[in-house]
C-alpha cells in the first residue's frame, strides 16, 4: 500500500514536472520566434529573378527615367534567351538554376566586314543569392583575319554586397558586377569597362540599378 502510494506520488510529481517543462519550453519557443525578426526563409525560398516575356520595371533617377522590360524570347547559340531591354540597351539573359548567364559577343570589323571573334555565355550572377558570395568568369578566343591574330577577352567579377529589408518588398540583395571587354589586334587594343550595382527584391525582380548614368529606383512594375 505504501509502495503504491509512493509510486502514485512519484508519478504525479513526474507528470507535474512534464507539464511545467512543456509550458516553459513553449514559452521559450514563442520568445525565440518573436525575437528572431529575420527573413531567412524569404531569402532562401523566394525567386529574385522574374524573367518572363512582357514583365517590366519602371525605374527613375533624379534626372531621368528608364523602362526595363523583357522582350520577345530569342534563341541564341541554340539556347532560349530573355532579351532584357535597359532603356533600349539589350542584354540577352538566360536563367539557369545555378546562374544568370549573359550572351557575350565580340566582333572585329575589317574592310567593312564583321568577323565574330568570340560568342558564348558568361556567368553574370551566381545563384542562389547569398550575402558575401563572389564569383568570376571569363571568355577568351581569337581568330586569324587578314594575316593577323585578333584576340577577344571578356572578364566578369560579381559580388553580393549585402541585403537590406525594404518595407513592402522584403529583403533586397545588392549585386555588384564589373565587366571588362578587350579586343586586341597587332596595332590596336580596345578596352571597355562597365561597373553596375543591381538590387533585386523577392518576387519583384529589379529594384535598383546604379550605373554611370545615375541611381535608378523602382517606381512601378508588372510581373507575372
Amino acid at each position: 500500500m505504501v509502495r503504491l502510494m509512493l509510486d502514485l506520488s512519484v508519478q504525479n510529481w513526474g507528470l507535474a514536472m512534464i507539464s511545467k517543462g512543456v509550458t516553459q519550453t513553449s514559452i521559450l519557443i514563442i520568445l525565440l520566434f518573436v525575437g528572431c525578426g529575420d527573413s531567412i526563409i524569404q531569402r532562401a525560398s523566394k525567386d529574385y529573378f522574374q524573367y518572363q516575356e512582357g514583365n517590366w520595371w519602371q525605374m527613375a533617377s533624379d534626372q531621368d527615367t528608364m523602362l526595363v522590360e523583357i522582350e520577345t524570347i530569342d534563341t541564341l547559340l541554340q539556347i532560349q534567351c530573355y532579351p532584357v531591354s535597359y532603356g533600349g540597351y539589350t542584354r540577352n539573359l538566360v536563367k539557369n538554376p545555378d546562374a544568370i548567364m549573359e550572351y557575350a559577343i565580340a566582333v572585329y570589323n575589317f574592310n567593312g566586314e564583321d568577323h565574330i571573334i568570340l560568342e558564348n555565355f558568361i556567368e553574370r550572377i551566381e545563384l542562389p543569392l547569398v550575402d558575401g558570395n563572389a564569383w568570376q568568369d571569363s571568355l577568351v578566343d581569337s581568330i586569324f583575319v587578314a594575316g593577323a591574330w585578333i584576340k577577344a577577352k571578356f572578364y566578369l567579377q560579381g559580388l553580393i554586397t549585402g541585403f537590406e529589408n525594404i518595407s513592402g518588398y522584403g529583403d533586397v540583395y545588392a549585386v555588384e558586377i564589373n565587366t571588362i571587354e578587350m579586343i586586341i589586334s597587332p596595332d590596336t587594343m580596345y578596352i571597355d569597362t562597365i561597373g553596375v550595382v543591381e538590387s533585386y527584391a523577392p518576387d519583384v525582380g529589379l529594384f535598383r540599378l546604379e550605373n554611370e548614368d545615375g541611381i535608378f529606383d523602382l517606381i512601378d512594375y508588372g510581373v507575372e
Partner: protein, 150 residues
C-alpha cells in the same frame, strides 16, 4: 524519478524530403532526428532535435535546418496522427559565404505503428511548414523511424 525515467522511450527517424511550397530551385533533401517520448495524459509527447539538408543544381550551395521540437503522437494507435512544432535554426552556405537565422516550423502527418516487443517501427508521412514571420514555405517528406520503450 526512476519510474519517470524508465517510462520513457527513445527513438530515431531518418528520411527523404522535397520542396512543396516555395524553394523552387531546391532539389530533394535528407532529414534526421532523435527524440525521447513519454505518455502524457491522452497523448504521447516527445522532445526531439533534428537536422535537414538540401542541395540545388549549384553544388557550392547548401541549405541546412536544425530544429528542436515538441511532438504529439498516439503510440497505441495503428494509424497515428503526428504533429511537431518548434524553433528552427536555418543556415545557407554558398562557397565560403553563409547566412543564418531563426524560424519556426510545424509539421503534421501520420505514421503507422508496428510493434515487435519493446521495439516500435513506423513509416511516417508528413508536411513540414517553415516560416520566418514574413514568408511561409514547406516540404513534404517520408521518414522511417524506430523507437525503443524502456
Amino acid at each position: 524519478m526512476l519510474y519517470f525515467l524508465i517510462a520513457l522511450s527513445v527513438g530515431v527517424e531518418g528520411g527523404y524530403s522535397m520542396p512543396a511550397v516555395g524553394f523552387k530551385d531546391l532539389n530533394s533533401g535528407i532529414t534526421f532526428s532523435l527524440y525521447v517520448n513519454r505518455h502524457f495524459q491522452v497523448v504521447d509527447l516527445s522532445l526531439g532535435a533534428g537536422m535537414s539538408y538540401y542541395t540545388v543544381e549549384n553544388s557550392a550551395y547548401t541549405l541546412y535546418f536544425y530544429d528542436l521540437d515538441i511532438g504529439l503522437t498516439k503510440k497505441n494507435w495503428l494509424f497515428s496522427p503526428a504533429i511537431e512544432f518548434g524553433p528552427e535554426y536555418t543556415q545557407r552556405k554558398h562557397s565560403h559565404s553563409d547566412e543564418s537565422g531563426m524560424a519556426f516550423y510545424y509539421s503534421f502527418g501520420f505514421l503507422v505503428n508496428i510493434y515487435s516487443d519493446n521495439l516500435r517501427f513506423y513509416p511516417k508521412f508528413y508536411y513540414k511548414g517553415t516560416t520566418d514571420g514574413q514568408t511561409h514555405a514547406g516540404f513534404i517528406g517520408a521518414k522511417l523511424g524506430v523507437g525503443y520503450d524502456f
